[in-house]
């Protein structure tokens, strides 16, 4: 397994800067997630690391050595795509064996058989070995794709949104499997996704990308608790963070166009105009609450419910456990956990408190 480092990668496509000075490192055995919206540059970054695309400047290093001049096969990496990774004309066994039969590897049929069977067992697809890939379900296909990546024991795993095309339930199940597999194998993995839940649940560390630039790198807790910009605050966390314009007058903060007034934090105070972010789990309905609003929508998810509370012209999202019995139009009293409020400047950057 390898330590991967990217130094000042830049790449242009006609008319658009795909990557703008990207630098980060992935420790040996780490599960590293590239998170960002479609078009942020995450897939391009992955393809540059794989050697399928070439950067204009900057370099990629594996274990301290630059691999920029190596072909994809010489870099000894494995790639798992979102779809179309399995050869439709071959059986599952042949698909798994394909990487081992490449001219670069020269393995005997006996070695290949053992490796394929080991891998199939790890992914619990031993019973599918003889089947043609066209006769597999979506989840089974993805497990075979992952198997094809594992079977070679490469230095680095690169995964490009491998779960995006699966049903929600399948995604949940495969997330757990992938995490367990990665932790027990100790494989250095780079995982690309636009889904923040995948990033939070699986990553050791996350790099958030937007428009070709890295905006923040940190553990899931770092990204969730201390988002560096409003973009990240809104990207990560479900339901989405409540973000509003706010004003400060002396020691009182008011959320514009609403009836919510909060005490300003002690220590360094935000400027007179700024942005305030409150996560829904920090908005708590309470019959003795300090604030009042009206319930305009309730979304019962089962384990918790999202309440849309209107105060003035603003709607605050509140996350409460269980399924509630409030009715639309009810008057809601609530509190806000002040110590968990996020403050951002009008430019979107986090204000140090």
């Amino acid at each position: 397994m390898s330590h991967v480092e990217l130094r000042h990668l830049s790449k242009q496509f006609p008319g658009v800067t795909a990557l703008d000075d990207i630098s980060f490192d992935v420790k040996d055995g780490e599960f590293f997630v590239l998170l960002g919206p479609t078009g942020a540059g995450k897939t391009t970054t992955l393809r540059v690391i794989a050697g399928l695309e070439h950067q204009e400047s900057g370099s990629v290093l594996f274990d301290g050595e630059a691999v920029d001049n190596l072909t994809p096969s010489d870099r000894d990496i494995a790639l798992v795509f979102q779809q179309y990774s399995l050869y439709p004309t071959m059986s599952v066994y042949d698909n798994l064996a394909f990487p081992l039969r490449s001219p670069l590897r020269r393995k005997s049929a006996e070695e290949i058989r053992k490796k394929v069977e080991d891998t199939a067992e790890k992914l619990r697809i031993s019973h599918l070995l003889k089947r043609k890939t066209a006769h597999l379900s979506g989840g089974e296909m993805q497990r075979v794709s992952i198997g094809r990546a594992i079977v070679r024991s490469p230095r680095v795993f690169l995964m490009d949104e491998p779960l995006s095309n699966l049903d929600a339930k399948l995604r949940e199940a495969l997330r757990i499997e992938l995490q367990h597999l990665q932790k027990t194998q100790g494989s250095t993995t780079l995982f690309v996704t636009h889904d923040q839940i995948e990033a939070l649940t699986m990553a050791d560390r996350i790099a958030v990308l937007n428009e070709g630039r890295i905006i923040q790198i940190g553990t899931p807790e770092d990204i969730y608790d201390r988002p560096a910009t409003t973009f990240i605050a809104q990207l990560v966390g479900s339901p989405r963070i409540n973000l509003y314009n706010a004003r400060r007058e002396d020691d009182t903060i008011s959320i514009s166009d609403s009836d919510v007034h909060l005490p300003a934090p002690r220590g360094s105070k935000p400027p007179s105009e700024f942005l305030v972010g409150i996560r829904p789990e920090n908005v708590n309905p309470d019959p003795k609450g300090n604030f009042t609003g009206q319930l305009v929508l309730a979304e019962p998810l089962g384990v918790e419910t999202i309440l849309h509370i209107q105060s003035g012209q603003r709607t605050l999202l509140s996350l409460v456990p269980g399924i509630t019995s409030y009715h639309l139009g009810d008057v809601m009293k609530f509190n806000i956990a002040f110590e968990h409020i996020h403050y951002f400047g009008l430019n979107g950057d986090r204000l140090q408190s």
Partner: protein, 332 residues
Amino acid sequence: MAHFEETGPRSPVVEPTRVDKVHPRAKWGKTIRVIVVVIITFIMLIPVLVMIMTAFKSRADIVTPPPKVFFHPTLEGFLYLFTDRALLNQGNLAAAQANPGELNYWEQLALKNGQAITGTSDYVGRLKNSVIIAGTSTILSVVLGLFAAYAFSRFKVAGKDDLLFFILSTRMLPGVVVTIPLFLLYKQLGWNDTHIGMIILYTAFNLSFSVWLLKGFIDEIPVEYEEAALVDGYTRLQAFFRIVLPQAVNGIAATTVFCLIFAWNEYAFALMLTSEKARTAPPSIATMLGSGGLEWSAIAAGSLGFLIPVVIVTFVLRDYLLRGVTFGAVRK
């Protein structure tokens, strides 16, 4: 396997059925539609039926108006097609008629018109020429087209769009327009009436079509397959043979059939640029002369023979054709 949530069957490939197609009142509509289709099919097949009948008619039956539907079939047409005959003078004619037992069926048939068989015609030879020229040019068009199409599909080629248009533009010309310059060119090269000349010509004409068609098919094959193979350590060529080719068979079959049909039926160039050695079937069939003008029954019989190889090829490849014509699976 409690924790792998594999619920539900995979969606099968099924034909949706619209309300207006299975409405109880729609059954009448269906019957009418079937009848109309049968009638139209029959009308379309009439020329083929006439051709088959003509092959088995006698000269008299063919030329006498009105056209006869019921007639006494004879194998005269095939005699005219496969043999060369000469008119017997009075003496030989009498001698032959005196000893009918010594003659086989065909010779007797020839005798009825006062002729004796002098040898086999060059019909089979012409068919052979057609097979060689059309077959070879088809193979060349498809193979060369395949590699070119792959390159256009996968690589960054300078001026790709212009090149593709240029290739397509060669089809915009009616072939007849260039026959005279070609004739002169071939004369210079010494390619007139040679197999190689015709093969190269047909290949050149078919290549544009096959590149365009095959590029479309290869475009449909996701590039991720090859990228995965590259990452695994295969060269591009190996990836091409192991991955792209198996998935492109439908397209290759469809392209092969179309190229073959063009080369097989080609008339104008064959007529102008060949005479003896390399003459293909189409010009020779159409100009079969008999004692009173065109030998219709021979032409019909010859056309039948000409039809058969193409019908066989198309029949053998029909599954691939169907898949190829519908241009691959529906992707979500």
